[in-house]
Each structure stands twice: as C-alpha cells, then as structure tokens.
C-alpha cells in the first residue's frame, strides 16, 4: 500500500527476495556501535519517555480551553506558546504524542502479526499464494489514505477505525517481504530435512521460519511504525482520523492551519514532533537494514 513507501531504493530492486542471513545475537552490539542507530535509539527513547511521562511532565487536561490565554507566543510561561483556544502547545504536543505513538505501536503489532502468518501460509501453499499476491498487488499501488478515508466514512471516525483501516492497509508491503523470505528459507536444507521427517507445520513455523524472517521483520517494523504514525496524523488532519474529542499531532494541526498567519508556532511544534518521530523510525530502519543485510549496506 502506498500509504508508506520503503525509504530505500534497494527494496524495490527486488533485494528482499534474497535471504537476510544474519545471526541476531550481535545485532544489539552492532546497533550500539553504529552512530546513526544510536542517534535514532536516543531519539526514540526521548519520545517514548515523554509520551509515558506526559501526565507528570504536563499535568492537567491538555484540551481545557482558556480564552484569556489565546495566541501567546512561545516564551517562559508557555514554552511552545498557546493556540486559538488558549491551550498550552507543549502540553498538546506531549499528550498528542501518546495517541500518535500508541496508534503507531498497535498498528505495527497487528499488521506485522497478520503479515507474518499470511506470509508464511503464502510461502508454503501455492494456491493461497496466487490469490494473496493478487490482493497484495492491488493494495500496494492504491493510496492507502483514500481507502482509510472511505473506511472512516463508513465506520465513523474513531481510534478503532484508524487502527483497523491502517492495519489492513499496511499488511500488504510486509506480507510481500515475509513471503519472499519464507520462499528462500523453505528451500534451506535443514527445513527440507525437517519436513521430510514429518515435523508438524506449526512447529516448523515457530522453530525455523520465524527466526529466519525475524531480521527483515525487524527492519520492516520500523518503517511500518513510521508509516502508521504518519498515516494517523494524515487521517486525523483531514478529519477522518481519531475524531475531534481525542488529541493527536494530526488533530492539533487541523485547527492550526486556520491561524498560520497570526500564530505560526501552533503549526510548527506538532509538525516538528511528528517529523522527529518519523525521522527517528526511518533512521532506525535504515541502520537496522545496514546491520542485518551487509549485502545492501555495501552500497552506501
């Protein structure tokens, strides 16, 4: 689904069909040795902490309006300024991040889990594969936002709608990657041997397939997370996302665009937070790929 796109050209040149054969043992050490990866991990830690600690850092209801404090520019009192309803932007950004990151996390877990199961089935059963891959082709090219917009119209804007539609829409790219990896792995001798001696399929899946696809899944998860955060923000921004009663970065920007001339800061900060998050996730994905797939890393 083109709600997201791989951030690297390599993915499109068919590189994912070949095995990412790396042991996971030293991944963590190598991440720590990689400056880009370290930077992204630090950025993500800051984001996660500020989301978790938002109620402590900025206590009180972030949506409470205070007409007397409208359009206060950033300063000592309000670090990020206030918006058209006198709400503190710092509070909005901190609390909004909770929603954005939560949606991103849930969508990533759901869509990746479905992709792994369907990808494994697709990789092992030819007939299923034919149908699933046509579906994936259809979904890959079509703009996910449009589908999610239609879905929101039918189901009504809510957190559940956003999570459901983004999860469906984001299965396709991961499914294709998992399937490609399974196709490679199933030809390996140890798996042929395991199949020959009658190891049950489920056990084959958990013991052999899952570990083998874990590297590409890890890389893909970073990109899916970033796509989900961006998708939620986009949907909320155009008013078919989590609904006006909840707070997210996308929602915060919807109102802000009407006041861009008099209070640019209310546009600036939620967007910066959004970009910071997406950048961190993309950098993590890029460096994970470099680490897990030396064959592609060489080109950089």
């Amino acid at each position: 689904m083109t709600l997201i796109q791989a951030t690297s050209p390599d993915r499109l040149s068919g590189g994912d069909e070949e095995a990412f054969v790396t042991t996971n043992r030293s991944v963590w050490q190598r991440l720590l040795a990689n400056p880009t990866a370290m930077a992204s991990i630090i950025m993500l830690t800051i984001l996660a902490l500020s989301a978790v600690l938002a109620p402590l850092l900025a206590p009180g209801n972030p949506l409470r309006v205070s007409p007397a404090d409208r359009f206060i520019p950033p300063g000592a009192e309000h670090l990020f300024g206030t918006d058209n309803l006198g709400r503190d932007m710092l509070k909005m950004v901190l609390h909004g991040g909770r929603t954005s990151l939560l949606v991103g996390l849930v969508v990533t877990v759901i869509s990746m889990s479905i992709a792994v199961v369907l990808g494994a089935i697709s990789g092992f059963y030819r007939q299923v594969d034919v149908v699933l891959m046509r579906l994936v082709d259809g979904l890959m090219a079509f703009p996910g936002i449009v589908l999610a917009t239609a879905a929101a119209g039918i189901m009504g804007p809510s957190m559940t709608t956003v999570i459901t539609s983004l999860s469906i829409v984001l299965i396709a790219p991961s499914l294709r990657i998992v399937r490609g990896q399974v196709l490679v792995v199933r030809e390996l001798q140890m798996i042929e041997a395991a199949r020959a001696v009658g190891v049950p399929t489920l056990r084959l899946f958990t013991r052999y397939i899952l570990p083998a696809v874990s590297s590409p899944i890890l890389v893909q998860a970073s990109f899916i997370f970033s796509a989900a955060v961006l998708g939620e923000a986009g949907l909320s921004f155009i008013g078919v996302g989590i609904g006006p009663k909840e707070l997210s970065w996308g929602n915060a920007l919807t109102e802000a665009r009407n006041y861009i001339a008099q209070a640019p800061w209310i546009v600036l900060f939620p967007g910066l937070a959004l970009m910071f998050t997406i950048l961190a996730l993309n950098l993590l994905g890029d460096s994970l790929r470099d680490i897990l797939d030396p064959r592609l890393a060489r080109r950089r």
């Binding site: 796109q5 082709d137 259809g138 079509f142 449009v146 039918i154 189901m155 923000a233 008013g239 640019p264």
Partner: protein
C-alpha cells in the same frame, strides 16, 4: 510491445478492483443500515425503503455484488445522494484538478530526484554528497501536509509570492495556473523527490561501474556525454519504475493537499462525500482514483519500454 502493454494491463487490474471490492464489502457488511445512515434521523420508513431499493440493498449480497460489478463495468454508479446527479457526471468535474496536481508533482519529484541524485553520485563522499544524502533523509521524514503549511507560511503569508489557496485551471493561462499549482505540487512531491534522489544516487553509482561506461570512455566520448547520455539512460530506469508507486502515493497525499490549498479535486470531494455519507459518490471517487492510477501506471510502463529496449522484445 503490444503484448508487453497487454501484460502490464492485466497486472494493473487488481489495482482497480481490489480497493473497490474492499469498499463494497465495508459498505455492505458494516453494522447498521447504510440507507438509514445516509438519510439521517428525520427520514421516514418509506424514504429508507425507497433508497434501499434504489441502492439494491434489499437484494441478497451476491446479487448486490453482480449489480455493483455491472455498474462499475458500465461506469454507472448511480446517483449522488447529496447532489442528486449521476456520480459519473460529478466526478469528472473534480478529477482534472487531481490529475494536474499529481502530474505536476510527479514531474517536479522526478526532476529534483534525478538532478540531486546525479549531483550526489558524481561527488561521492564529498561534502556536497553528504549534504544531499542528509537532506534526502530529512525529506523522506517530512509529512507533506505539514510541509504544505510551512510552504504557505513562508511563500504565501510572509513573502506573498503565491496565493494562500485556490485554483486556476490551465485554461486561465500558464502563469495563473502555475501560481496556484506550484506550492501544492511541491508539497506533494517532496517526499517522493527525496526517495528518488536516494534511488538515483545508488543506481548511478552502480551504472558508473558498468563495462559499457568504460567502453564509452575508451571510445573517446567526452565525460559530459558519457554521464549525461550513456550513464543517465540506464541510471534513470529505476526512478521511472518507482514513478508508478510514487503516483499512487501522491494520489493519496493529494487528499490533504487539496484540503489545505482549497483545490477542488477528487480528494477533497471524497472527504466531503464521506462526511455526508454519500456512499455512491465515495465509490465513484475510489473508482476514479483507481482508474487514474491505472492509466498513469500504463503510461509509465510505456515510457519504461521506450527507455529499455529489452522490454520491447519480450
């Protein structure tokens, strides 16, 4: 060549039908009565029953599916509930803007991507290369609707080079058209141009190691020709390949961009139709976007076939 395009067309069919089937299923299988939801609380039971008959909702699901399929193939999607006009008369009024926006954005993205990727590859590992690579990473992480707001603030509000919003069709003159399309297209194209920059850089670096580049040099051709014609020709191919995916992405991104810049396009129409629960128009919008995407993809395949003679003879 015709066989190749025919094959590409078959591959595009799922792109047209899968999204539509999803929308069909969502519409029919979601809880609640679409007819009742469309007409709102004040509707009488007769009105709802009439609409159900009009939409075919009183039929079994497989009959509905066949009717729906027939409607799509004959491009008859019924009447818009809000406009009370055939959907297929409303949609074309909005499609032109979206197509223009996407084409201009795609052109901008390709031009920027190829130029920056080329500059980067030719200066590999020098400061300018690092600068381009870093900018591209930032560009990929830039949400286009936010970038659009920044562009409005800088170029429309502060510098007053462009109008804040609105649309002039190409028939209003090139300058008038360009002044309303440039900022939206730039906002829509920026992520794709960053992706294409990265792709162009890596493919150029690969191509420069190809023996046929050495041959061109060994034949005495000047470096400008070796790079500008011999290397570019092959290095640009992957960029053209992803242009199809980029176009799909842009049609999605266009929804927010059209709302921000008040462009009367399909995306805005779709969001408004969703808000009014105007389901026939929603289906029409999804179908049109699918068709636009299919045509764009076929055009890109055609360009690719012209670039790469190996395709033509398959």
């Amino acid at each position: 060549m015709l066989r190749y395009l025919g094959k590409r067309f078959l591959l595009i069919l799922p792109t047209i039908f899968v999204p539509l089937i999803l929308v069909f299923l969502l519409l029919r299988l979601s809880p609640g009565d679409p007819a009742g939801m469309m007409l709102g609380d004040q509707a009488t039971a007769e009105q709802i029953a009439a609409l159900r008959t009009q939409l075919g909702l009183d039929q079994p699901i497989w009959v509905q599916f066949l009717l729906w399929l027939k409607g799509i193939v004959t491009l008859d999607l019924g009447n818009s509930i809000f406009f009370r006009e055939p959907v297929m008369q409303i949609v074309p009024r909005y499609a032109g803007v979206t197509i223009m926006l996407t084409l201009v954005a795609l052109t901008l993205a390709i031009l920027i991507g190829i130029t920056m990727g080329l500059i980067s590859a030719m200066n590999r590992n020098r400061p300018i290369d690092r600068g381009v690579v870093t900018t591209a990473v930032l560009g990929i992480s830039l949400p286009e609707f936010w970038f659009a707001l920044l562009l409005i603030f800088i170029f429309a509000v502060t510098l007053r080079w462009f109008p804040v919003a609105g649309y002039n069709p190409p028939s209003a003159g090139v300058i008038a058209f360009a002044s309303t399309i440039f900022l939206p297209a730039l906002a829509l194209g920026v992520r794709q141009s960053a992706l294409m920059t990265r792709m162009m850089r890596s493919s150029m670096l690969d191509v420069l190691n190809e023996p046929y580049i050495t041959t061109a040099r060994a034949q005495g051709l000047p470096e400008s020709k070796v790079i500008g014609q011999y290397a570019m020709r092959t290095a640009a191919m992957p960029v053209v390949t992803v242009a199809g995916l980029s176009a799909g992405y842009m049609l999605g991104g266009a929804v927010a961009i059209e709302i921000i810049f008040a462009l009367p396009g399909l995306g805005r129409m779709l969001v408004e139709a969703v808000g009014r629960r105007d389901y026939p128009l929603v289906e029409g919008g999804v179908l049109t976007i699918s068709l636009v995407l299919a045509v764009l993809n076929l055009a890109i395949d055609l360009i690719y076939a012209i670039l790469d003679p190996r395709i033509r003879y398959q």
